[in-house]
C-alpha cells in the first residue's frame, strides 16, 4: 500500500508543480493584462477598446499587420512548396548543402535579415548604389510594406520548404503511379493528387508563418519606417517616448491574443477537415531532367537559396570591414569584434548563460509535461498541455508586457516576487516562448515508445521511479535533446519579449544588435550578429547529429 501512495505522490506532485508554474508565469500575467485592459482608474471600462476601434490610426496598424501577414504567408507557401516540389521530383547537385543553408536561413533572427537587407538595398545600400550609380536605375527603396514582406518572405519560405519537403517524403510513390495509371498526369496530377496530400502540412506551416509575421516586432521596427504594424503599435504604446499608455497597450495585447486565438482555431478546424494519415514505404524518387528544364531548375533553386542566405553572408562580410558608425571604410580588420567584446561583452555572456539556464528549465519542464500528457492523461495533465502551447500563439511583445504588468509590483501588487528586471524573468520568458518545441518533440518520442517497454522493466522488479529514470528518459533522450536544441536556437534569436524585459545587466545579443543598429553602430551590430549566427549554426549541426536527420520539423 505504501508504494501505491508514493507513486501517486510523485506524479501528482509534479503535475501540481507544473500547473503552478504555468498559472504563475503565464495565466496570471495574461489575466493581469486583461484586467489592466478593462479597468481604467480602478473602474471597469471598455474605453481602451472603444478608443482603438474608433481611430483609423490604430485600426490601420491592425489592417497593415493583416495585409503583411497574408501576403507573406501567400508568397512563402507558394515559394516554399514549389521549391520542395523541385527537391522531391528532380535530381540536381548539392541538395544536401542547399537544404542545410535553408535551415540556417530560417533559423536566424528575422530582424538581422532586415538589417542586412537595409545594408544591401536600403537608401545607401551596396546593391542600390551599384544599380543607381552604374546602371542608372531610378532611385528606389525597400522600406515600408514592400521591405517587410520581402524580408519576412525570405525569412519564412524556408520553413514552408522544410515542412512540405517532410510531407513529400511521406507520400508513397505508388500513389503517384496509381494516379498516372488512371490517366491523371502532369499539372493535373500536381493539383488533384499531390496538393491535397500536402494540404494539412501546408496549413500547419501557413499558420506558423502567419503568426510569426503577425507577431514579429524587429523587422517592421527596422525596415518599416513609419509603416506601423500591430506589435510595433503595442510596443510604442507601452514604452514609447511620446505617448505612453500602458492600459491601452494592455487592451491592444488582449486584441492581439484574441486574433491569434481565432487564427489558431480556424487553422485547427480547417486542418481537421483535411486530416488523414499517410505512411510511405517507397518515397518518391527524384528523376533526371535534361536540357532547358535542367538549366531553369538550377537557376531557380540556387538563386532562391542564395537570396535566402545572402543577408547572413553579407552581415558576416561587413563585420570584418572597417567601420565608423554607419559608414564603412576601406580595409578589413577585427575592429568590430574587439569593440563588440569591449562594449557588449556582457550581452554575449548573458546570451549564453541565460539561454543555457532557460534550456535547462525547458528540458525539466518538458520531460514532466510530456510524460504526464502521454502516460498519465487526465484533466490536470491535459490542462497543463494546453497551457504549454499558449506561448506558441501569443505574440512575444504581449507576453513581455504581461510579465511586466504581473511582476512589476510583485504578485497581485503584494510586493512579493518582484522579479521584473532580474535575470530570472528573462530565463522564464525565454523558456516559456520556446517550450512548445521541446514538449512536442518529447511527446512525439514518448508516443512512439510502447508502454510495454516500461511494463517490462516493472515486471523485472524496477520501481516506477527507477523505470522512469533508467528506461523512459534514456529512450526519450534523442527526442528531448533535439527538441531542446531547437528551443535553444529559438531563444538565441528571440527579440520581441527580451526587448521589453531586459536591462543593462541582462541584455542579450539580439537586444544589443537591435539597439546598436538603431544607434547606428553597424560594425558592432554586424559582429554580434555574426557571432549569433555562428552559435546558431553550431547548434544546428548538433541537432542534426542528435536527431540523425538533415532536416528540421516543428
Amino acid at each position: 500500500m505504501n508504494r501505491t501512495k508514493f507513486k501517486w505522490n510523485i506524479w501528482y506532485t509534479s503535475a501540481v508543480v507544473m500547473l503552478l508554474f504555468y498559472l504563475l508565469f503565464l495565466i496570471y500575467p495574461l489575466g493581469a493584462i486583461f484586467q489592466e485592459a478593462v479597468y481604467v482608474r480602478g473602474e471597469f471600462s471598455l474605453a481602451h477598446f472603444t478608443r482603438f476601434f474608433s481611430h483609423s490610426y490604430f485600426l490601420g496598424a491592425l489592417s497593415n499587420s493583416f495585409q503583411v501577414s497574408a501576403v507573406v504567408t501567400l508568397y512563402s507557401v507558394a515559394l516554399g512548396t514549389f521549391l520542395a516540389y523541385l527537391f522531391t521530383t528532380f535530381k540536381f547537385k548539392g541538395k544536401k548543402y542547399l537544404q542545410i543553408l535553408l535551415i540556417i536561413a530560417s533559423m536566424s533572427a528575422p530582424f538581422i535579415g532586415a538589417y542586412s537587407w537595409i545594408l544591401l538595398l536600403g537608401r545607401n545600400g551596396a546593391i542600390t548604389n551599384v544599380l543607381t550609380n552604374i546602371f542608372g536605375f531610378p532611385p528606389f527603396n525597400i522600406y515600408g510594406f514592400f521591405g517587410i514582406t520581402f524580408v519576412m518572405t525570405l525569412q519564412l519560405f524556408p520553413l514552408i520548404f522544410l515542412f512540405v519537403n517532410g510531407a513529400f517524403r511521406n507520400i508513397d510513390k505508388s500513389v503517384l503511379e496509381a494516379s498516372e495509371n488512371l490517366g491523371c498526369v502532369g499539372i493535373k496530377k500536381f493539383f488533384q493528387v499531390l496538393l491535397p496530400l500536402l494540404t494539412p502540412t501546408i496549413l500547419a506551416g501557413a499558420l506558423l508563418v502567419f503568426m510569426r509575421t503577425f507577431s514579429d516586432f524587429g523587422t517592421p521596427m527596422l525596415i518599416g519606417e513609419g509603416f506601423r504594424t500591430f506589435p510595433v503599435l503595442i510596443f510604442t504604446q507601452f514604452v514609447g517616448e511620446v505617448m505612453v499608455n500602458q492600459g491601452f497597450a494592455a487592451a491592444l495585447s488582449v486584441i492581439a491574443v484574441v486574433i491569434a486565438l481565432v487564427v489558431f482555431l480556424i487553422q485547427k478546424i480547417v486542418a481537421f477537415k483535411f486530416a488523414f494519415s499517410m505512411s510511405s514505404l517507397n518515397p518518391i524518387q527524384p528523376k533526371e531532367v535534361k536540357g532547358i528544364g535542367k538549366v531553369l531548375i538550377y537557376v531557380f533553386v540556387y538563386s532562391s537559396v542564395f537570396i535566402a542566405i545572402l543577408p547572413q553572408v553579407y552581415v558576416a562580410y561587413t563585420s570584418f570591414r572597417n567601420t565608423r558608425g554607419m559608414v564603412f571604410h576601406p580595409g578589413y580588420s577585427l575592429g568590430s569584434y574587439i569593440e563588440a567584446f569591449n562594449r557588449m561583452g556582457n550581452a554575449i555572456t548573458n546570451t549564453i548563460s541565460l539561454s543555457f539556464y532557460a534550456t535547462v528549465l525547458i528540458v525539466i519542464v518538458s520531460v514532466f509535461v510530456s510524460y504526464l500528457t502521454v502516460r498519465r492523461r487526465n484533466f490536470l495533465s491535459s490542462t497543463i498541455d494546453t497551457f504549454s502551447m499558449i506561448p506558441f500563439i501569443v505574440p512575444g511583445t504581449v507576453l513581455g508586457i504581461a510579465l511586466i504588468s504581473a511582476f512589476n509590483t510583485g504578485v497581485f501588487g503584494s510586493g512579493w516576487f518582484r522579479i521584473t528586471g532580474t535575470a530570472l524573468i528573462m530565463v522564464i520568458s525565454l523558456a516559456l516562448r520556446s517550450l512548445p518545441y521541446t514538449i512536442r518533440s518529447s511527446v512525439a518520442a514518448l508516443q512512439q515508445m510502447s508502454v510495454s517497454v516500461e511494463e517490462a522493466a516493472e515486471s523485472l522488479g524496477s520501481s516506477r521511479l527507477n523505470t522512469f529514470f533508467k528506461i523512459t528518459i534514456p529512450m526519450m533522450a534523442s527526442g528531448i535533446i533535439s527538441g531542446a536544441i531547437l528551443s535553444w536556437i529559438t531563444i538565441l534569436g528571440e527579440l520581441s519579449t527580451s526587448i521589453l524585459l531586459y536591462n543593462v545587466r541582462t541584455r542579450t545579443m539580439t537586444v544589443a544588435i537591435y539597439v546598436e543598429v538603431l544607434r547606428g553602430n553597424f560594425g558592432i551590430a554586424a559582429a554580434l550578429a555574426t557571432i549569433l549566427n555562428v552559435l546558431t549554426i553550431v547548434l544546428l549541426f548538433a541537432f542534426m547529429k542528435v536527431s540523425k536527420t538533415k532536416t528540421v520539423s516543428i
Binding site: M1, R3, T4, K7, S450, S452, V453, E455, A456, A457, E458, S459, L460, G461, S462, S463, R464, N466, I471, P474, M475, A477
Partner: protein, 358 residues
C-alpha cells in the same frame, strides 16, 4: 515457482464489465494457455495477474501469497510481450541483466546467470549487440531470457509469437516449450491462435466474453468440447441441427437434412432439439450412406478438403488424406457415413454437451 489461484475476479472499465466473475487454478509448473478470440478478456486477465490492470474484484494468489495490492515490480513475475519490449538503448547482455541488477545481486552472480541464460537461448555471441541489429525471433528470445533469468514465480506471455512470420512462429513455439519444460516454471500463455495453443499447452482455458468456457488438455478440448463455441473455435467442425428421438427402444439423432443415426449412451437423455458437431474427418466414405455431391475441393498437401452438399442444400466440410491419383471430381456423388463414437451433441443453444465433459 508456484501455482496461481484466481477467485471470483472482476474487471470493469467504467460501466463496461470485461470479466464478470472468473475463477481458475493454474497448476504449478504447467504451461497454461488462455485462448480465445480478440476482445474475449484473455489479455486483460493476464495483465491483472501481472499487475498492469487494476483488479475490481476477487482474489489473486501466487501459492499462498495474495498479490492483489502488490506493485508489478514486487510480484516476482517474468513477462514476455507481443512487441518484445526490448530496451532499445541497452545491449542484449544489459537487457538480460536488467532484472538481476534491480535485485542488487553480486556482480559475479549477475554475470554468470546472464551467461547461463544467453546460452539457454543460443544467443551468447550476441551479448554486446544492440537490439536493433536483431531479428524479431532473436529479440523475442532475448525477451524470454530476460524474463526467466530473474527466476520468477510465474512466467506470463502475451501473444509472444504473433509478430513473427509463420515458419519462425513454429520454431519459436518449440523453443518456448523446451525452455519452459527445462526450467519448469508455471507459465500463463495468451494466444488467439488455436493451433499454437494446442501445440504448446499442458492445459488450455477457452475464453469468450470474459468467461472461461472450458479448461482441459488439448485433446479433451478437441474431442469433447464443452460448448458449441469451443467446438467451433478449436479446429474445424460442421454444426448440423437435428432432433434427439426415442425409437425402437434406442435413441436416435434425426438430422434436419433428413438422415437418422442410432446413438449409444443417450438413453437417459430426453427427446429434444439438438445441434450436432461433426468434424470434417468424422465423415468417412462408405458403400451405401448419405448421398453427398462434391461442390468444391481444396488440395492442402497431406489432406484434401471437400465441400459437399448433403441432399437439401446443407453444405459440409469433409477431409480425406490426399492421394496422387485423384479420382473425385466436382459434381461427383459419393456416399458418406458418420463416425458416431466421435461426434458431439449439444443442446439447442449449443451451451451444453449432452454427453457431458469429463
Amino acid at each position: 515457482m508456484s501455482k496461481i489461484i484466481i477467485k471470483n475476479a472482476v474487471k470493469r472499465y467504467g460501466d463496461l464489465t470485461i470479466i464478470p466473475d472468473l475463477s481458475v487454478t493454474i497448476p504449478e509448473g504447467s504451461l497454461f494457455t488462455l485462448l480465445g478470440p480478440s476482445g474475449c478478456g484473455k489479455t486483460t486477465l493476464l495483465r491483472m495477474i501481472a499487475g498492469f490492470n487494476t483488479i475490481e474484484g476477487g482474489d489473486f494468489y501466487f501459492g499462498e501469497t495474495r498479490i492483489n495490492e502488490l506493485e508489478p515490480s514486487k510480484r516476482d513475475i517474468g513477462m514476455v510481450f507481443q512487441n518484445y519490449a526490448i530496451f532499445p538503448h541497452l545491449s542484449v547482455g544489459q537487457n538480460v541483466e536488467f532484472g538481476l541488477k534491480q535485485r542488487k545481486l553480486p556482480k559475479d552472480d549477475i554475470k554468470s546467470r546472464t551467461t547461463e541464460y544467453l546460452k539457454l537461448i543460443n544467443m551468447e555471441e550476441y551479448r554486446d549487440r544492440k537490439p536493433d541489429k536483431l531479428s524479431g525471433g532473436q529479440q523475442q528470445r532475448v525477451a524470454l531470457a530476460r524474463a526467466l533469468v530473474i527466476n520468477p514465480k510465474v512466467l506470463l506471455m502475451d501473444e509472444p509469437l504473433s509478430n513473427l512470420d509463420a515458419k519462425l512462429r513454429v520454431e519459436m513455439r518449440q523453443a518456448i516449450r523446451d525452455i519452459q519444460r527445462k526450467v519448469g516454471i508455471t507459465t500463463v500463455y495468451v494466444t488467439h491462435d488455436q493451433e499454437e495453443a494446442m501445440a504448446i499447452s499442458d492445459l488450455i482455458a477457452v475464453m469468450n466474453n470474459g468467461v472461461i468456457l472450458q479448461i482441459g488438455q488439448p485433446k479433451e478440448l478437441y474431442h469433447r468440447p464443452a460448448t458449441e463455441f469451443v467446438a467451433v473455435f478449436i479446429g474445424k467442425t460442421n454444426i448440423l441441427p437435428g432432433k434427439l428421438v426415442k425409437k425402437d427402444g434406442g435413441t436416435w439423432i434425426k438430422f434436419d437434412f433428413g438422415h437418422e443415426i442410432p446413438m449409444d449412451g443417450f438413453d437417459n437423455i430426453a427427446e429434444q432439439d439438438i445441434r450436432v458437431s461433426i468434424r470434417p474427418e468424422e465423415f468417412v466414405r462408405c458403400e451405401n450412406g448419405i448421398k453427398a455431391t462434391i461442390v468444391d475441393s481444396l488440395y492442402l498437401g497431406l489432406n484434401t478438403e471437400y465441400i459437399m452438399e448433403l441432399g437439401s442444400g446443407v453444405k459440409v466440410q469433409v477431409i480425406e488424406e490426399s492421394s496422387f491419383v485423384e479420382t473425385l471430381q466436382i459434381g461427383d456423388v459419393v456416399d458418406l457415413e458418420i463416425k458416431r463414437q466421435k461426434i458431439n451433441v449439444f443442446d439447442k443453444d449449443g451451451s451444453v454437451n449432452l454427453l457431458g465433459v469429463n
